[in-house]
């Protein structure tokens, strides 16, 4: 089963990198979001994946026995939320970029270039 999850993580990461390399900002954003998901699986697999029982200490018991690894879960939980926040920041920037440049293609965004050649201050390109 681990092999299946390994394959899943690899496919998700590979696909998201392919998307990130696109010049379309929304694709890039979705790729980043998916990359976070893929990496979360990798973190999950770095822990002990033997037991399917949640890491809850049973009523009456005082220590955790025979349960899934709690540590990667704690890491992933914050990672999901942070990844979510990152996706939203990218969405915000994408929206602003679209408003300012009327294009989603990073290759066509000229806002910085229109400020002029950095090696020749004072000269503006038309």
């Amino acid at each position: 089963m681990n092999l299946v999850y390994a394959l899943m993580a690899s496919v998700i990461v590979a696909c998201s990198i392919y998307m990130i390399l696109s010049r379309n900002l929304v694709r890039l954003l979705l790729g980043m979001s998916m990359l976070a998901t893929g990496v979360n699986i990798v973190i999950f697999m770095s822990g002990n994946t033997q037991s399917p029982r949640p890491p809850l200490i049973e009523e009456g018991a005082i220590v955790l026995t025979d349960a899934a690894d709690p540590l990667p879960q704690a890491l992933i939980l914050t990672a999901i939320v942070i990844g979510f926040a990152l996706t939203l920041v990218l969405a915000t920037l994408t929206l602003r970029a679209w408003r300012a440049e009327r294009t989603l293609n990073t290759g066509q965004m000229r806002g910085a270039e229109d400020l002029g050649d950095p090696t020749r201050p004072g000269k503006r390109e038309g």
């Binding site: 681990n2 998307m19 696109s22 949640p54 220590v63 690894d69 709690p70 942070i82 679209w98």
Partner: protein, 908 residues
């Protein structure tokens, strides 16, 4: 004491601005008290110097970095400090008169700079630690830059200032490299120790780069060929600065450095040869240029370069006489050259004319300046009874006693003759010849303009008539410090008929001839095309242009502006590193024990992979978003299957919110997304992605087959209930074991919310969004129900989080979902009204609660975020709840900031 000397000089320079404003016309005389006071203090310790002792002073600056603020005063430093403070005094007096027409502000600036420069010079010649010396050395370069470019409105001044800065700063870098290498080779930065261990350093394998760095540093500073071109340009500086920096003191720093390292240079077979050659080339070129020069100051500048060349040659010569001659000439040159610069400045000030051929007959208009010029020129020409004569005798003696070739002697004689010629020309032409060329002057002589050159010129006369004090207190200690052993220094005007005297005689005769035929020599040299070959100004310009061009090309290459290329460079580098690591770790991965394939999870995983592939291949953005969402849901289900209900819950909520939030974005942008990459680029990207995927797969297979120690997990599993009273280990880790980490992540969310609001939010306030959204009736009807259900659920999730799946993060997300329902059904305005408070304020409240929760536990001295517990019969209360509530509120506020911001931004 030495540190105090520098500190007082520094504090005094800082006060120069206000003092000069307050004293107005008398500023020069008043401020001169600072260098004069230092000069007198130094004179008072001359008995110590006479005995050949060395004064030391130091502070442990940063011992763990091997930095010691150590200073050292020996005979040679003493000579330098006397010149710096003595000439400095006169320069400050002269500046007061010279800058009388400048504005108060400009004058204050000039005094500040010139006194700061004096401080830096004192530091440089007193420092024992080489790094400390370098700091002061660089400070002199920067102050020189500021003084040359003092008239910032003149393009020529700016260009000259930059030229000198580039040249000397490049030399400073070379010197820094050399000093660091010395530290590597000897393990010390102390100048005294380096001199003592010169042979050891010369035997080091690093000696070639060390010497190269030292020499480049010294040659750039002291304007030696081929770096001499900046000095004539530096004459753009106001004349007092030229007199001080570019003839008497700063340009001698390179000489100072070389003299300090003479033992090291001498221990290397080619060391002396390099010095003699460079010095010889410099003085020859400079002598011709001095005859070719048209301006008063330019001629003086070239003659200064020639003198510096002579000094470098003298360091390269062997024998004690060379050290004596070097010290004597350095001293004599500072006296007469500074005086001549003062005179040149007065002429320039009075007439506004620079050109030697345009000047004439000034003796009647500027009589005292004329007298000073005559006296100083006689010293420069090396005629008895002036100090220049004594130093020239030493010079020839050193040359004759040294083991170097006759060529060098011939060069010295020729150059000295040229100096005699130049000395005669700059005296006779402006003052005595061409009577009537100038009939009136703009400004007459004032005491401040006349006193400094006269003092210096007369010093050159009286010190040679009674040389006992200066030779035993200044020159002998300096020569001993340079030579390293006790030597005899006999300073007399008359030594009898000696070969040196005969050489002086020859020099004066040739010099007189040069002066007589100056005009034709001058004009012929000006027409000569030879000097175009040695036009280093132009070479400098071309080099600079080439550098600019190269840097522009390089910038164009690495800063091309294509995001995709930046990213693939990153990913390609990651791939290369991964492949390298794989290769290093061994090519075959360990294989895990194959466990049973569970059908349901396997199908879910397949759905996830299909979603990923679909997202990558999708043409439209909507498809891509749905496919991405599919991946998220599949992974959430996967978490569910593998004992991670917390994660599953979080992932589900996040995916739901992403759909709501990104829909707002997709409403604003075009959904059709034509290809942005060429086919080749796609194939290339697919290749990179595939390689990373394959490497990751192999790594994961290898990883899962390794045993998992899990010591930390075990610890947390064991302590979760006992120490932190929680059944849900994941939540306990978040709020307690790793509470500080969680706090940091909460701050990240809070900051992203503030970012979102600053980018999208402010416009929200401008106009109230009037129209309500038209949404399906059924949604409108059920939305309030869902809202309250979700809100209550979120609170329940929050409260039970410590023992059951749930917690602040999940609760906050679910609560945000509740508001998203309202926004979907009734529009943004309704959702905002429901919230009542500004989302960023909500974030602030949450942050406040989370931060606050850490304090109560500190009362018994525990660390921040140590949680407290109250356990009653039916009720458990804890500060973790406050912490988790804070997280909940921050997440809620953060998501809502994005929700409102994005929806509003998309509507516009």
């Amino acid at each position: 004491m030495l540190i105090w000397l520098i500190l007082i000089a520094f504090l005094g320079s800082c006060l120069a601005g206000p003092v000069s404003r307050a004293a107005d016309r008398w500023a020069g005389w008043l401020l001169a008290l600072l260098p004069a006071g230092l000069f007198v203090t130094l004179i008072k310790i001359s008995p110590v110097m006479e005995r050949g002792w060395v004064l030391g002073d130091g502070l442990n600056w940063a011992p763990y970095l091997d930095l010691y603020l150590t200073f050292r005063l020996d005979g040679f430093s003493f000579l330098m400090t006397l010149l710096i403070t003595g000439v400095g005094t006169l320069v400050v007096i002269y500046s007061g008169a010279y800058l009388s027409e400048k504005s108060l502000k400009d004058r204050g600036r000039f005094f500040t700079l010139i006194l700061l420069f004096m401080t830096a010079m004192l530091g440089a010649v007193l420092a024992d630690n080489l790094i400390v010396m370098l700091v002061f050395w660089e400070a002199t370069s920067i102050l020189s830059f500021l003084l040359i470019g003092f008239d910032g409105r003149s393009a020529r001044a700016r260009r000259s200032a930059l030229m000198s800065l580039y040249t000397t700063a490049a030399g400073g870098l070379a010197l820094l490299a050399a000093i660091l290498l010395i530290g590597q080779a000897l393990g010390t930065y102390s100048l005294g120790e380096v001199r003592a261990r010169a042979d050891e350093l010369a035997a080091s394998p690093l000696i070639v780069p060390i010497l190269a760095g030292l020499m480049i540093g010294a040659f750039t500073k002291s304007a030696q060929f081929p770096f001499h071109f900046w000095l004539p340009n530096a004459m753009q500086a106001p004349t007092p600065a030229s007199a001080f920096l570019h003839s008497a003191t700063m340009v001698k720093l390179g000489i100072y450095l070389l003299a300090r390292f003479e033992p090291v240079i001498a221990a290397v077979p080619y060391g002396r040869w390099v010095l003699v050659t460079v010095g010889g080339a410099t003085m020859l070129i400079a002598a011709f240029q001095a005859l070719r020069a048209e301006g008063f100051k330019t001629a003086l500048a070239y003659s200064t370069i020639a003198s510096l060349g002579i000094l470098v040659t003298l360091i390269g010569l062997t024998g004690p006489a060379a050290s004596v001659a070097m010290v004597g000439f350095l001293f004599a040159h500072a006296l007469y050259k500074a005086a001549l610069f003062f005179c040149a400045g007065s002429v320039l000030h009075a007439t506004g004319l620079q050109n030697l051929r345009a000047l004439g007959g000034l003796i009647r208009l500027l009589p005292l300046t004329g007298v000073a010029t005559v006296l100083a020129s006689l010293s420069m020409a090396g005629l008895p009874p002036f100090f220049g004569f004594i130093s020239k005798e030493f010079l020839f003696q050193a040359q004759l006693e040294s083991t170097s070739a006759l060529v060098s002697l011939a060069v010295i004689v020729l150059v000295n003759a040229a100096m005699v010629g130049v000395a005669a020309v700059i005296t006779l032409r402006p003052f005595f010849m061409g009577r009537g060329k100038i009939s009136e002057v703009k400004h007459g002589e004032t005491p401040g303009l006349v006193m400094p050159p006269l003092v210096l010129a007369l010093a050159g006369l009286f010190l040679s008539l009674d040389p006992a004090w200066v030779s035993s207190n200044v020159l002998r200690p300096a020569a001993v410090a340079v030579y390293g052993e006790a030597i005899e220094v006999k300073v007399h005007l008359w030594h009898g008929i000696t070969p040196m005297l005969m050489l002086s005689f020859v020099v004066v005769i040739i010099g007189a001839l040069i002066a007589w035929y100056w005009k034709s020599i001058h004009l012929r040299l000006r027409k000569s095309r030879v000097f175009e070959v040695v036009d280093f100004d132009r070479y400098f310009e071309t080099t600079l242009e080439t550098l600019h061009l190269l840097s522009a090309r390089l910038t164009g290459l690495v800063q091309h502006g294509d995001l995709r290329t930046y990213l693939w460079v990153v990913f390609a580098a990651v791939t290369a590193l991964l492949l390298f690591a794989w290769n290093a770790a061994g090519l075959m991965p360990r294989l895990p024990q194959v466990d049973a394939l569970r059908p349901a999870p396997a199908v879910v995983a397949l759905v996830g992979m299909a979603g990923a592939l679909a997202a990558a291949r999708a043409r439209g953005l909507l498809t891509a978003m749905i496919a991405t969402g599919l991946v998220g849901f599949a992974v959430a289900v996967g978490f569910m299957f593998n004992g991670a209900p917390d994660l599953a819950l979080t992932q589900f909520t996040v995916e739901a919110l992403i759909v709501v939030l990104l829909t707002a974005l997709l409403l604003a942008v075009p959904l059709a997304a034509p290809p942005t990459r060429t086919n080749t680029e796609r194939r290339f990207d697919a290749l990179i992605a595939t390689v990373i995927g394959v490497v990751l797969f192999v790594a994961l297979v290898d990883m899962t087959s390794a045993s998992h120690g899990g010591a930390i997990s075990t610890f947390m599993g064991n302590q979760s209930y006992l120490a932190a009273k929680g059944h849900n280990v994941v939540n306990v880790i978040l709020v307690d074991f790793r509470g500080f980490d969680t706090l940091g992540e909460t701050v990240v969310i809070a900051m992203s919310a503030v970012l979102a609001w600053s980018l999208l939010g402010p416009r929200l306030r401008e106009q109230v969004w009037s129209h309500e959204r038209r949404s399906p009736f059924i949604l409108q009807l059920t939305a309030p129900v869902f809202f309250w259900l979700l809100l209550i659920t979120s609170l329940w999730i929050l409260l039970r989080g410590h023992d059951q799946p749930g917690g602040g993060f999940i609760g906050g997300l679910v609560a945000a979902l509740a508001f998203a329902m309202i926004a979907l059904a009734h529009g943004l305005e309704r959702a905002r009204r429901t919230l009542r408070i500004h989302p960023v304020v909500v974030v602030g409240i949450g942050m406040f609660l989370a931060l606050l929760s850490g304090f109560p536990g500190m009362q018994d001295g525990s660390a921040y975020l140590t949680h407290l517990w109250y356990e009653g019969d039916a009720l458990k209360l804890s500060t973790t709840m406050v912490f988790d509530l804070g997280v909940y509120i921050v997440v809620l506020g953060g998501v809502l900031a994005f929700l409102f911001g994005l929806q509003r931004g998309a509507e516009k």
